[in-house]
């Protein structure tokens, strides 16, 4: 399976939709519409 690198600096991040912790679908563009967004990927719960 080809691995993709995803957006680097200068690239436009493709919008995506994921459920939040309450189960509501959220789009990345909700966080970047009016403001910049700090997006933190983390390992998850131990």
């Amino acid at each position: 399976m080809e691995t993709t690198h995803g957006p680097g600096v200068g690239d436009t991040a493709a919008d995506f939709t994921l459920p939040d912790s309450e189960g509501n679908p959220r789009r990345l563009s909700e966080f970047t519409g009016d403001t910049a967004c700090v997006l933190i990927f983390y390992r998850g719960h131990w």
Binding site: G10, F16, D20, S21, I40, R43
Partner: protein, 134 residues
């Protein structure tokens, strides 16, 4: 800390493969004010090149992105669990980004964003930061 980011003009969101129930419990326990997104299918994590397939059936490598209001990635740092980007450095970078042009960053030059980032760190050392690094 979160309000510092809001004042600097940024939203914060965290993303992992944990299911919503697990993320909601962690959010309650840690009283996190920001959104947690649940990539249980590993779709975004894989597309963004952050899949660590060797642990727990596939989890995300730690990484922090700064995405501006045009949807352009201004900073991408891939980290390890022991040394995440300190919030104070993120704030400095956010403020440096705001002072620079609002136009989208040039594509993949490599030098400009890195220079801005180093300047932000240097400012942090020169002027100190009011926030305790984690």
């Amino acid at each position: 800390m979160y309000h510092e980011f809001r004042r600097a003009g940024a939203e914060v969101a965290a993303i992992s493969v944990d299911p919503p129930e697990r993320s909601a419990a962690m959010r309650r326990d840690l009283q996190l004010p920001f959104t947690i997104l649940c990539d249980t299918a590993r779709k975004v994590i894989t597309e963004w090149g952050l899949l660590n397939p060797r642990e727990k059936g596939g989890i995300a490598f730690p990484a922090t992105f700064l995405i501006d209001r045009h949807g352009v990635v201004r900073m991408r740092e891939q980290e390890n669990t022991m040394s995440r980007v300190p919030p104070a450095r993120m704030l400095e970078y956010l403020r440096a980004m705001d002072e620079a042009s609002q136009a989208p960053a040039p594509k993949r030059r490599g030098v400009s964003p890195g220079l801005m980032f180093l300047r932000a760190i240097a400012n942090g050392f020169r002027h100190g930061t009011r926030v305790k690094p984690e």
